[in-house]
């Protein structure tokens, strides 16, 4: 009498993966010199060979971006730029299924998430910024704000196309041109996006995409022809970038790691809170910089919440990311899996109690079962370091003040969640928390209108919303003073 869901795999027929890719420079695809494989982390199947950009390719891309900036894009009116962005947004919607399938194959995330979250949000970012393109004088950055020039953008592997959209859409809307490098393990949707740029007839060189690893990233960061660096990734690399650009004129925005506190007060709506905890840490296999990876439970409800959380975790469907009913997919890479395994072992050795439902994980590919550690204290490494995987550290607190102190007791400050039905305490807590994004009675909700970014080691600057435009504009007031 049990309701087993038969496999409901999404077809991969909609997408064609070429055996080998080059770079997208000056509006054209150019062959690469060296290549490395990109794999499907759920099966370890080699999907394609990705080009590794060296100095010559990065130089060419920067040159193309500069040329496009000087000769075309900086002279294109905001209204016209907006038209291109609207066009890109619509093409992303039209080709959404193709992008979703490709993203899931290359990244390992469940098709449900790439279909319902990543791709629609990527399109939404282009729509939103298309609207800003001809209204920048109202962004609060002076009456006549100016673009910075050529932006070097380096994005991570956890939301490949979405992070591309977060970077490319505001840069283009504000009149900058772009050299973008996707993460080495997830280049495919960026390369498909290059096709979209061609389809939208975006002027050549406005968007350039070079693929590669950290060495390519370093070439971009240190390139003298670049005016601005936008990076999303680890705090470790963020610090290297900050040091590299410090003696230069480059502007920089960094969106780095986090160790988000998800605070549950005694009057929280328990069932919805449990859903929020699940969303907070198991969404995208926990590969989320703003994940709610530290659960702070008020002691008098801790037992009830943990009981319900465990029951709920037993219902999580882990497995084939292409199956429409999968909730948690594959870990993106062998290296990331090793990191998660190591930190979980540290959790064991520090005396945390590890618990996970009995999942049957696939034999091939990179997998880590959704896991919680109870009995964690603020002194444990798994309460301090970003695991970037489906591992939740559970701590308790006695009073609201203690919850805030524990939540803020971290070098990070990207996100936090507050669960409770008492509005006055929620507002008080939100004011005390030192985190860039605070959700109340929800978690991991994103919208292009809302600025995103961190305090402390979680980064510099904001992306999205009016605040995000500031990262790509110089504040200039018209001398005639049209305010």
């Amino acid at each position: 009498m049990s309701f087993e869901y038969a496999p409901a795999p999404e077809s991969r027929a909609i997408t064609t993966i070429k055996p080998k890719y080059g770079h997208f420079i000056g509006g054209k695809f150019v062959a690469g010199s060296k290549h490395f494989p990109t794999i499907n982390p759920a099966t370890e199947e080699v999907l394609s060979q990705i080009a590794l950009a060296g100095k010559a390719e990065v130089d060419a891309a920067v040159k193309a971006a500069r040329k496009a900036y000087t000769s075309t894009w900086s002279k294109t009116s905001g209204k016209e730029r907006g038209k291109y962005l609207f066009r890109i947004a619509r093409i992303l919607q039209e080709r959404a299924r193709e992008f979703a399938v490709l993203e899931t194959l290359d990244n390992g995330k469940p098709i449900r998430e790439s279909r319902d979250t990543d791709i629609p949000l990527a399109a939404a970012h282009f729509f939103y910024h298309a609207g800003w393109a001809d209204k920048l004088e109202y962004a609060g950055l002076g009456s006549s704000p100016k673009p910075l020039g050529v932006a070097g953008q380096i994005i991570p592997w956890n939301f490949p196309l979405l992070m591309l959209a977060w970077k490319v859409a505001p840069a283009l809307a504000t009149g900058n041109t772009v050299v973008l490098k996707p993460a080495e393990s997830t280049s495919l949707t960026a390369l498909l996006f290059a096709e979209v740029c061609q389809q939208a007839e975006l002027p050549a060189g406005v968007v350039n995409i070079v693929t590669g690893d950290g060495t390519t990233g370093a070439l971009i960061v240190n390139h003298p022809g670049i005016d601005k660096i936008a990076f999303t990734g680890s705090t470790e690399v963020g610090k290297i970038i900050a040091r590299s650009v410090a003696p230069t004129k480059k502007s920089v925005t960094l969106e780095l790691g986090g160790k988000g506190a998800n605070i549950v007060f005694e009057d929280a709506a328990i069932d919805e809170t449990v859903e929020g905890i699940i969303d907070g840490i198991f969404f995208n296999q926990g590969h989320v910089c703003c994940a709610g990876s530290r659960l702070l439970l008020q002691e008098n409800i801790a037992e009830e919440v943990l009981h319900k959380l465990k029951k709920r975790m037993e219902k999580i469907r882990v497995g084939d990311p292409m199956d429409k009913n999968t909730d948690v997919g594959a870990i993106n890479s062998k290296e990331q899996l090793a990191k998660i395994v190591d930190l979980a072992k540290v959790g064991d050795s520090e005396g945390g109690q590890r618990w996970s439902p009995a999942f049957e994980l696939p034999k091939k590919g990179y997998w880590f079962a959704p896991t919680i550690f109870t009995g964690v204290t603020s002194a444990h490494r798994i309460a301090r370091e970003e695991i970037f995987g489906p591992v939740l550290s559970v701590l308790t607190f006695r009073t609201p003040q203690e919850a805030i102190e524990k939540a803020n007791n971290t070098p990070f400050g990207l996100s936090a969640g507050i669960w409770g039905e008492k509005g006055s305490r929620t507002l008080w807590a939100a004011q005390q928390l030192r985190a860039g994004v605070i959700w109340t009675n929800s978690f991991n909700k994103f919208d292009p209108t809302s600025p995103f970014g961190g305090y402390k080691e979680s980064g510099w600057g904001r992306e999205g919303g009016r605040h995000g435009l500031a990262a790509y504009l110089k504040s200039v007031s018209n001398e005639k003073g049209v305010m």
């Binding site: 009498m1 309701f3 869901y5 038969a6 039905e421």
Partner: protein, 315 residues
């Protein structure tokens, strides 16, 4: 133990009991229900779900225009939903107004449908606006006529006024009338209670008062059995089981018209309350048009083609 030891029958104890309930966050409940509605149920699991859903249908006719002929017709349909295919299970029950109970019971027995129970809507259905004496007589009348399931409505006016003890006592009284002769389903009319907090509160109130089933709606008010409302009720029966070791059934009714909606309901049951609830003893779907869509989907799975509605009987 009386009222499972949760309340002693006094207003104070009822208030205290209901105060222990955590609230329901509307946005979160809607999001959870929406997520579960994306489950993709195909091939063998779809086949299983269709047959399971058929066995859970409370095939209903609740019209002023009901006649003996109409009721006999749906009785035949209930016993053998698809006359050309004997592998189709009978439905969960027939649901009619009081005066049709005897007609339905007699006809079911006549055509080999002794296993199909007759449910009667009771307590001044659908509004519930009558004195308790009338409601008791109404219920007794249905049981005497052969009804083994009573679908009563709560007094929503009293509930919204805060006279929860009156609502509670009415359920207790009807429960006593039902005795061991009839199962009691308690209808909340969630479209009139409106908030999920109210749905949760009504669920725990009715379960403690002795309901065997909690039911969303009369079918006369919209919105009725929306996915989040059913979600909240399934969470309630799940939690109540943990408190008392007693499983209470859930019956969504109203607005579930096609196979897709029915399968979404089964997914909710499976992932919220658990598979113990996936049978007609603990889950029913109050519907009329739904059955034919289930039958047509079933035919399609066998033949690969969608049949014209003329290939299924209208009632």
């Amino acid at each position: 133990m009386k009222f499972y030891g949760l309340v002693d029958g006094s207003e104070a104890s009822l208030k205290k009991y209901l105060k222990t309930l955590s609230g329901v966050d509307q946005v979160g409940a809607n999001a959870r229900a929406a997520m579960l509605s994306t489950r993709s149920i195909k091939t063998t699991s779809k086949r299983w779900a269709i047959d399971t859903a058929i066995s859970m249908v409370d095939l209903t006719t609740l019209e002023g225009a009901d006649t003996v002929g109409k009721v006999e017709a749906i009785c035949s349909k209930a016993v053998r939903p698809d006359p050309t295919d004997s592998s189709v299970p009978s439905v969960g029950a027939i649901c009619v107004y009081n005066d049709m109970v005897a007609v339905a019971r007699k006809h079911l027995d006549l055509i080999g449908g002794k296993h199909v129970p007759v449910a009667a809507v009771s307590t001044a259905f659908p509004s519930g606006r009558a004195s308790i004496e009338v409601k008791v007589l109404d219920t007794q009348d249905a049981i005497d006529a052969g009804s083994s399931e009573i679908d009563m409505v709560i007094d929503r006016g009293a509930f919204l006024e805060g006279r929860l003890i009156d609502v509670f006592n009415e359920i207790v009284t009807i429960r006593q009338v039902c005795g061991d002769k009839a199962h009691l389903k308690v209808i909340f009319e969630t479209g009139e209670l409106v908030t999920y907090d109210n749905v949760r509160k009504a669920s725990f109130l009715a379960m403690a008062a002795g309901a065997d089933f909690i039911k969303t709606s009369t079918g006369k008010i919209a919105p009725a059995a929306t996915a989040p409302v059913v979600l909240v009720m399934l969470e309630a029966v799940r939690d109540f089981y943990e408190m008392t070791q007693k499983r209470i059934g859930v019956k969504p009714a109203g607005g579930i018209r096609n196979t897709k909606d029915a399968i979404k309901q089964l997914v909710l049951v499976n992932e919220v309350a658990g598979e113990e609830w996936l049978n007609s003893k603990l889950f029913r779907i109050g519907a009329s048009a739904l059955l034919n869509d289930l039958l047509m989907q079933r035919m399609k799975m066998d033949s690969g083609y969608y049949a014209s509605p003329t290939y299924v009987s209208m009632d």
